[in-house]
């Protein structure tokens, strides 16, 4: 950790309310995935958990107990590769070291087909109260093309097993614009998703990331890849079908039944402070005077050695300027359905966004990407589809 920022952040007043724990292990890495993950045996997973526990102690000593933890998120990788007992130990440790709010949201990402009813019940008993299933598609052919290890039937089974295990907050992830996927195929994926009657649905368009097997397999000209128009149609179809089924399109990529928004992810958009633990985890720490972002090394050996030596291996530490913080406030806040309340911006930065961004608001609302009223601005559906165009205009 850069000492400079330590001095700037006042230890006693550092705000964070969310914890993210990165579990970088997968049975098999999916062909489109560029995130940090690796194969592991039980032994190395246990070593990692031990290091995580140690990191928690170091973090507590460095940044304090936080501001009342409202959510904890086990992401990956495949965090369901941890045993329920390991999850329980991590949660217990965190409840001892950090102040918890009453009943925080505790999410575990899990892959269908890797967890049976008993294991799910044990996770629930260990304290997990929200499950996010990486379904991606219900089409077996597309699933195998993605390099996923599960089938449609396993998804259906896992969803009902999760309900039986007591999960009353259940979400799935879907990906559209898959190679070879037509609009009809996507409609049928959405219909199958609705039949699962989950509480939360995340929807992403596939992007081909450099360095993945997909990048080698599908070049930009590949006829199998959805073009811009098809991809946009898929986004719009999801909005139409899921909204009609009673889901709220509460964020660009997320839908939820009433009361089931992801508190953890919403916190990213509202710029709540969060602490990332484990390799390649990201953090935002704030106090009254400054906002600091940093990430933990993505090298497992470096991570382990540093933590065992009592050092937090944090990289890319940046203290945001006021202009950068304002830009973030805009382009993160606009991701949410409610958009941005002018009052809230003013209370953060002491000035009205209408003054600062008048020309941008004007341009973007004339292009039909933003709606501006007396108290707030928000993205239109088209604005969500073209959100990069909107967001990049707020950069300092």
């Amino acid at each position: 950790m850069d000492l400079f920022y330590l001095f700037r952040l006042k230890l006693q007043s550092i705000m964070f309310t969310r914890l993210y724990l990165h579990i970088p292990f997968c049975q098999r890495k999916c062909d489109y995935c560029s995130f940090v993950s690796m194969q592991a045996n039980q032994h190395s997973i246990e070593d990692y958990v031990v290091t995580l526990l140690e990191e928690m102690r170091l973090v507590r000593a460095t940044y304090g107990a936080g501001d009342g933890i409202d959510s904890i998120y086990f992401g990956g990788g495949t965090p369901s590769q941890l045993s329920p007992h390991q999850i329980a130990r991590l949660l217990e440790q965190s409840s001892l070291l950090f102040k918890w709010k009453a009943r925080p949201e505790i999410t575990l990402e899990a892959n269908p087909g890797t967890v049976d009813a008993q294991r799910l019940a044990d996770f629930h008993a260990a304290g997990i109260n929200r499950l996010s299933l990486g379904v991606q598609s219900f089409d077996n052919q597309l699933l195998s093309r993605l390099g996923r290890i599960h089938t449609e039937q396993q998804v259906v089974n896992t969803v009902s097993a999760a309900r039986m295990a007591g999960f009353d907050n259940l979400g799935i992830d879907l990906i559209h614009s898959l190679p070879g996927q037509t609009l009809d195929m996507w409609r049928s994926d959405l219909a199958r998703a609705l039949q699962c009657e989950t509480d939360h649905i995340s929807i992403y368009g596939l992007t081909i990331e450099e360095g993945t097997p997909f990048a080698l397999r599908y070049t930009e000209e590949s006829p199998l890849l959805a073009d811009e128009d098809l991809s946009a149609a898929m986004f719009e179809t999801a909005d139409t079908l899921l909204t009609a089924a009673g889901y709220e399109h509460y964020e660009i990529a997320n839908y939820a039944r009433h009361g089931f928004r992801s508190r953890h992810n919403s916190g990213y958009w509202k710029r709540d402070g969060y602490l990332g633990l484990g390799i390649a985890a990201h953090s935002l720490l704030r106090d009254e005077t400054c906002d600091v972002r940093f990430s933990t090394t993505s090298d497992l050996d470096e991570y382990t050695t540093a933590i065992n030596g009592g050092i937090l291996p944090h990289h890319d530490t940046i203290s945001l300027s006021r202009e950068e913080a304002m830009a973030e406030f805009m382009y993160l806040g606009l991701r949410l359905k409610e958009g941005i309340e002018f009052r809230e911006f003013e209370s953060n930065f002491g000035c009205s966004p209408l003054k600062i961004y008048a020309a941008t608001f004007d341009l973007l609302s004339r292009a039909g990407l933003l709606t501006v009223d007396k108290t707030s601005i928000k993205l239109t559906l088209r604005g969500m589809l073209l959100s990069n165009q909107v967001f990049s205009r707020f950069l300092p």
Binding site: Y20, H22, F35, Y73, G75, S202, Y204, G205, L206, T207, E228, D229, S231, A232, F235, I252, A253, N265, Y268, Y274, G276, A280, A281, H282, S283, L284, R293, S295, D316, I318, E328, Y331, L332, L363, A367, L369, M384, L385, L386, S387, N388, Q389, F391, S392, R393, L395
Partner: protein, 598 residues
Amino acid sequence: MDISRLRNFSIIAHIDHGKSTLADRLLEYTGTLSDREKQNQFLDKMDLERERGITIKAQTVRLKYRADDGKDYILNLIDTPGHVDFTYEVSRSLAACEGGLLVVDASQGVEAQTLANVYLALDINLEVFPVLNKIDLPAAEPERVIQEIEEIIGIDAHDAVLASAKEGIGTHEILEEIIKKIPPPKGDSQAPLKALLFDSWYDQYQGVIILVRLFDGILKKGDKIQLMATNSSFEALKVGVFAPVMVEVPQLTAGEVGFVIAGIKDVADAKVGDTVTLLHRQCEKPLEGFKEVQPMVFSGLYPIDTVQYEQLRDALAKLKLNDSSFSFEPETSVALGFGFRCGFLGLLHMEIIQERLEREFGLDLITTAPTVVYRVHRVTGEVLTIESANQLPELHHVDYLEEPFILAHIHVPNDFVGGVLSLCEDKRGIQREIKYLTPTRVMIIYELPLNEIVLDFYDRLKSITKGYASLDYEHLDYRRSELVRMNVMINGDIVDALSLIIHREKAYFRGRDLVAKMKELIPRQMFEVAIQAAIGNKIIARETVKAMRKDVLAKCYGGDITRKRKLLEKQKEGKKRMKNVGNVELPQEAFLAILKVD
């Protein structure tokens, strides 16, 4: 120095045939270039020249050589620029010589560029003898190439020197041939000074440096000199030679080559081809052949970022210091803002200047399509010249227009004759002659409108002939022509920087191809973008760039906002390289789209 021991010569060669390497060998062999000074291709100084393997500014160097006859000679190697745009400069450099080495690649044979320069040399009665270079290459065919030289150029080549500049083969023979074959200069050192100014450039410490060849008289330090064409006089502050670095000498006498520094501030006052004489003892009449060089090709240069305007102006002024053939004037475009209309000798000259501006001065520029100088005959009988479509008066004021024609010599292997002929016809050419130089090599001679050449002729010629064609041209005359102004409209607004003057018969196809190419080049935007080509009020072509539909990031992983921000920043950077015209963001290439249509 005894005038009989002087030799002034040039090396005439096609690009890549090894002129610079040979020059290096001569410098080395005569001990002119010490190891310390050795640097590949000493004569080509600028990086750009080295990269492109061509000489832009001529250099000259004095070699001392003790010949096999036991006598010491002074050889002045006068370098020549190697491109069609600089024919006049080449002719002046050659005029400073008595002879030339014709260097021909022993595998490639004679090329059009070589021919053009050989003819320039033969026209002024230089003694030219051939050297076959790259004789060490397996593909070398000296017999065939010797025959080709004799057939095409008509000079005796049976005793051509076989050389490899790279391997140092034949260097001694070349030096001996120079002594034997090239006559010493003639001149009367008692007569009034008469010297040819054959090159000049600006040096930031010493001002303008001029290179001269003395035909008569003596030039000493302290002499008051007179430049006859510009009618200006200066004091010779330094007189010297390049050996190869600058060395001052007490005086230069008839027949010699050297430099003069005379406190000249502006290269425009030291015009290539001018005659240098003494102010108080002038020669009777100047040397023949002086011409004012005029820019032939014009284009607009605009900074993408308007804050670079001042920088661009300073950079242009700096380049102009060294290049009087290049001109610039402030110009304003509705679409592009403040910039400059720049005049060049030709396309290569234009490219070189643009590249130097971007590379040496770190500027991001938008270049508008090159245009030639048209003559407008107004109904009032008045004639004006215009160098931009936007200077064309309203049609009802115009009686007729004239455009410049050139005489093009295209040299190709016979397999490509058909393709080249149809290209020339397509470019409104008038056939003059098709000469079979050998059974396999053909010289095609066409009269062509320069306006077709400056667009994409050269690139298309190269692609039709797989790179085997070479082109050389000279200016002919102005001819009356059915020309119209074609405008391009983006979302209904005329973008002045895209307007073109074009032949009426070509307008429809050009317009259609142009908007189609622009559609490819303009990325989808928040709004639909309509691209139209129009002549007057008549729309002749239209394409639409559909509005962008989707531009959204994938999953945000574990709160990694930094990754998102970097992507957005990259996008913003990309926008900075675009020019806003109204609400539309146009990439740099869109302004040169006309050069990219097939």
